[in-house]
Subunit: 366 residues, 2 copies
């Protein structure tokens, strides 16, 4: 796979190369959009917390880690049940190395972070099996568009990531409602991707909403309201507001493909300014298919940071190579942006060292 710097041109190579060249040497703003959904608490769905209730704390803890270099609402850092650390560790290390400004945006939270955050007017999401998952979707989209327009004036381009446990299940829900074949294709933070469970949840949600596969292809607001999560209208609005003026890197895995479908349905014109930035772990994942989803939606490029943890001395990082965590908190996009900001002067080796340094510091503190 062709690379520019340590960034893989993972999909739509020509466009991917044009995107990385366009942002080469430029100053981005990184926005981490955090939210929660009760969907994450369905047993077997998320690895983002040791107990289902912990998923309420993961997004604010990630936000604190990004801005403070440590968490305040929990001790230590968010980890999977087996002790593997949050991908916010990657994002934080990359953004710090490249001195990229960070803004946290709340899309709807049960627990608020002890750091400043942009309030986009959303509220926490419900279990999508109810078919009535998110309130106030249209208003959040509109507010996020306003924010995106203003923030686009403060940077050469935006990198927009997310932290919302359960988000690949809601992604499957919205993609299905909008007629994108994503069954068996969405990613998971666990090595054993619970596809059957996600499909069941989506079916239950569609029935409860009296909808079916594809019935909401032209109604993304209702698709989110029924089967989505609060992150989606927030990120979609930010992308729409910003991408009319500057390039936008949607930083995430298959969750961002659901946002892509929403953006396309709301304002297709901005897609020429949009790319997806993710990790090598997502691109190489045998249990999901980001490219297969994206190519059904739009002809946007995918870039992936080439960073790997195979050579790390820490088990907690090495585990990423076994398909645990893989992506989140905009980790892949943040790494891409850090490398691009300095014309490749930050390499994957340098980034790994910084991540290991921060990992050690945080685990000591714990």
């Amino acid at each position: 796979m062709k690379k520019v710097f340590d960034v893989l041109l993972a999909h739509n190579e020509t466009k991917a190369e044009a995107f990385i060249n366009e942002v080469n040497g430029k100053n981005p703003l990184f926005i981490c959009t955090i939210g929660t959904t009760e969907t994450a608490k369905i047993p077997g769905i998320s690895a983002a917390g040791e107990h289902p209730e912990f998923t309420d704390y993961t997004p604010p803890a990630d936000a604190e880690l990004l801005l403070l270099g440590k968490c305040k609402c929990i001790k230590g850092v968010p980890v999977t049940p087996s002790g593997i650390p949050t991908p916010a560790l990657i994002s934080m290390s990359a953004l710090k190395l490249a001195d990229i400004p960070i803004l946290v945006a709340s899309a709807g939270l049960k627990v608020k972070p002890y750091v400043p955050f942009l309030d986009l007017g959303g509220s926490p999401g419900r279990d999508i099996r109810t078919g009535n998952a998110v309130d106030n979707v249209d208003e959040v989209v509109q507010r996020a568009i306003i924010a995106g327009k203003q923030l686009a004036k403060t940077a050469d381009y935006l990198v927009i990531g997310e932290s919302i446990p359960g988000g690949t299940t809601t992604a499957l829900g919205v993609l299905s409602a909008m007629g994108v074949k994503a069954e068996g294709k969405v990613s998971s933070s666990m090595p054993d991707n619970p596809h059957r469970l996600k499909t069941e949840i989506t079916s239950t949600g569609l029935s409860a909403a009296k909808e079916r596969f594809g019935s909401l292809a032209d109604n993304p607001v209702r698709a989110i309201s029924c089967l989505g999560d609060p992150m989606m209208p927030a990120v979609a609005g930010l992308v729409i507001g910003a991408a009319a003026q500057v390039p936008v890197l949607m930083a995430g895995g298959t969750q961002m493909s659901a946002v892509l479908a929403i953006v396309k349905a709301l304002n297709e014109d901005v897609l020429c300014n949009v790319a997806i930035g993710t990790t090598r772990w997502i691109i190489n994942d045998k249990t999901s298919d980001l490219k297969g989803i994206v190519s059904q939606i739009a002809n946007v490029p995918i870039l992936a940071s080439d960073i790997g943890f195979g050579g790390s001395k820490f088990y907690g990082l090495k585990a990423y190579e076994e398909g645990i965590v893989k992506e989140g908190v905009g980790a892949g996009g943040a790494a891409v942006a850090a490398m691009a900001k300095v014309g490749g002067a930050i390499t994957k080796e340098m980034l790994l060292k910084e991540i290991e340094r921060n990992y050690e510091l945080l685990m000591e503190k714990k």
Copy 2:
């Protein structure tokens, strides 16, 4: 008084000229910090609302006007009891003309705006006569410092304004507690400045807090907690976080002198990067003395937009020349920044035309 563009070098001329030259042609970020205090509801204190309860709506309505060009939480726009429009009209016109990005920050609100806002963790303020006016001051300062640090990376410099009715009374309270002689010197949005009432309120508050003039000179956090308002820790933190990296224009009248005293007591080093930006109406006001307050605190420059409404065809604007409103929502600083961004290509005549155009549009809508 010497001018650069249509900006008066109103105080500390050499430093003022250096500041305007430093920001000439540069891209600022405008932050409007909004909050409420029960102090505004003391009869006779504020002109920011027709009825005391309206003061809860003025800051969010100002924020909406800045971002949407119209208000959502109220009909029309905030006006004084005699129908004179909010200075947000000036800020909005200036920022729009010069295409300056806007961020709204909430320092503590009773009524939330229907637009995105940065939540700094504060809560609405109480009547300062209780001597127990603001909660969580230290935490808000710390969070605002974090935000200021990040936002400083997104712009060449920051312009930080405020909208908080009752703010000149709380300014007198904090300045007095910190030993700055401000009695009879703070400004008012009304032509008859109720100095005696403000002094009484401050005395009552000092007694209730078991403090006296100057007793909190070295304890700005307690000065705000006892006699201040929520805007103060938010703006002070933003200034401290940002001014370590980039210039900061504190956009306001005598309310900003209270913040200046707080910033000095918390981190004097940043003051070399700070100026106050205000209006000609404040500089020429016979009922207040911004320079007299500032010169007791620190050797920072004051710049003032030279815009006047004497030649306006609208009574609602002409009234500004009679000492009504005068300043607020960062009007003076926004005008200074708009002129400086384009090297003076925006003149006071052009700005007046834009303000009149928006005034007409908004009054028609009403």
